[in-house]
Symmetry: C2
Subunit: 382 residues, 2 copies
């Protein structure tokens, strides 16, 4: 049982429900950001990120920054590619448009390869695009939170290594890290950027990244200085290296309480085999998707192989909009999210199934939500 | 009495000790960042910032961003001045160098007007400097956390209006907002940027700003797009305006728990007259500075009018370094900080006296720290 005040169960695709111990860490007493206890917590958190991302290569570099997941885009755009260079953006929803806008802010030429809503660019299309220009980076949204479309980052990374080996493979894993498998070393990925508040299970406010040795080389050989100050790797790398080595270091004050909470959730996550965690998410997702099908409803992500385990974007029946169903679901104690894709936001709702709602056997969040969905669609369908 | 676990009293110049209710808000259960309860909390927090900054001008614009105080520099540098334009930096310590580096990252010509360590540029020097070039912004560190030097922002703002009326007056109030008086409207200031973890009394992780109508006009008439994405006012302004109007809005996920904690502390701060708060800080600061003088020690800030109420930078006796005294102070249950100014970091320690340690009559933090200082310097002096 949770020690939290009674509240509606939060099943939006982030922030998610948090474990009691994680929330308790949020109220940790004041401590110095350069004192030995906090330096150890920060260093251990960086080390646990290596485990979470399945990387043992010492050249890999984890980062924990104070900011939202969006800040990770700035770090990529201002450190790993330069003004006038080309980036290929694989578009599976809202977040590709935003990542492209971020890259363009820093003078990068962003070319979007767009799939129809609910689909993802094919490997053949990606291969053809890669052959057109010298792309310094390719970005892939692992799970686009606006559509629930899952990308096959393993196959894309393989393809990139084959046809354009120097292109950095950048994964936006905001809605995937902690619930969709990511084998950073084995799949030869260069950047995964994410945020604290989704499947990692920590409240929002931390931007989390893992960089490969190849990405570090790219940064170290750039011809111009970083194009951002707050997102500058030049400012942050010494801090991360020092914290992991147990040495106090200062560039900007870290969010001490959030880092404590991150440490708590990463300790929980890494205490069990990751495979078990991914299976739990796949099982819960299959259960949700079966229930959606039973209700005669469609998903925005049309093909089973494109459907995320993190969330389900549920198309509403003709004539029904999110304001027709979200308040009814809320009355039954479950909070879902409305649509987010600019072209069809009013035609679907989003159900996030990540973290403790899925992994904690003491919780019945998913069953409660499915029951609520059934009851509400029975009402709405009348 | 505090309900927090027993811990050494944190008296570094930020993060500071936090009130129990503020820390309890940090462990608020998961909630949607676009749900009505959170939107109200965010909007109320923006409104309370107007009170804290003493601005009733509807053209003033408060912002609350997920990030450290440093992010505020990026917001200024990438939105309120353009590539190739000039900024005048009044240097009173470490943080002026960093703000200048931030401005230069975005192509701004940053000219530093440096005072000797422990002093601040004189009004005559500032006037002469302002007449040399067309400065689009002047930056002033209200309290430089590295030196404890207080700037006279009211007089500087008056001077700027007289000799260079179109120059934006930008105050770095990271170590001053909430403990040193700032009359945003009356003093005709254009930007105050700060962070959550100092005298505002909320854990670290929020960047907080107030912009004037003049600053908003400057942004609205710039000839190039904002030079940062995460710090772009174009991205954030609609969100802030919507939240304050009670409308959900999304650019990047806000740090919901931190915003809850900010709301709690701002509710406490604005429930009493601000004058009382500033007096409490001045009184505590005078008490500390008298004790330092009694010990025969000097401050880094040499003139009484240059000495901050937020903190005291205490010069160590000849031959004594921070590692000689900080562990001894720690043993007595008080955590002070070492020096930070690059040229003399090993010659002084820093004592922060802000927030509940000063304003909560149930706490004896300051007396305890003064006693510890006396005992430790008696030992070290042997």
């Amino acid at each position: 049982m949770s020690s939290q005040a009674p509240h509606s169960t939060l099943l939006i695709p982030g922030p998610i429900e948090f474990d009691d111990a994680v929330l308790q860490s949020m109220s940790h007493f004041a401590e110095s950001h350069v004192g030995p206890p906090f330096v150890k917590i920060f260093g251990d958190s960086l080390r646990m990120l290596r485990q979470l991302f399945q990387t043992t290569n010492p050249a890999s570099q984890p980062l924990i920054l104070s900011g939202s997941g969006t800040l990770g885009w700035d770090l990529v755009a201002s450190n790993l590619i330069e003004r006038g260079e080309n980036a290929l953006i694989l578009h599976t929803g809202y977040f590709a448009d935003s990542f492209a806008a971020c890259l363009e802010t820093y003078g990068v030429n962003a070319t979007q390869l767009k799939a129809p809503i609910g689909d993802r660019p094919s490997l053949a299309e990606i291969e053809a695009a890669l052959k057109e220009k010298d792309y310094k980076v390719i970005t892939i949204t692992h799970v686009d939170t606006s559509t629930g479309v899952l990308s096959d980052i393993k196959s894309v990374a393989e393809l990139v290594r084959r046809v354009s080996p120097n292109t950095l493979v950048v994964v936006d894993g905001v809605c995937s890290v902690g619930c969709e498998e990511i084998a950073f070393d084995a799949w030869d990925i260069d950047v995964v950027l994410t945020a604290s508040q989704k499947a990692i299970g920590c409240p929002p406010g931390l931007s989390v990244l893992m960089l490969s040795g190849r990405a570090m080389d790219r940064f170290n050989t750039r011809s111009s200085p970083p194009a951002s100050y707050y997102a500058s790797m030049q400012n942050w790398l010494p801090i991360m290296k020092n914290y992991e080595a147990g040495k106090p270091s200062y560039f900007a004050t870290p969010a001490t309480q959030l880092v404590r909470a991150l440490h708590t959730t990463l300790s929980q996550v890494t205490s069990r085999p990751l495979a078990e965690r991914f299976t739990a998410h796949a099982t819960a997702s299959a259960r949700v998707k079966a229930a959606v099908a039973e209700l005669g409803l469609q998903q925005l992500a049309l093909k089973p192989e494109n459907q995320a385990n993190a969330m389900t974007a549920i198309k509403l029946p003709e004539g029904v909009t999110p304001p027709d169903v979200l308040p009814l679901l809320m009355k039954k104690g479950v909070v879902f999210a409305g649509g987010l894709h600019k072209q069809c936001a009013s035609t679907y709702i989003r159900f996030g199934h990540m973290g403790v709602s899925v992994t904690d056997p003491a919780r019945d969040d998913i069953e409660k939500a499915i029951t609520a969905l059934k009851e509400v669609f029975a009402e709405v369908g009348k």
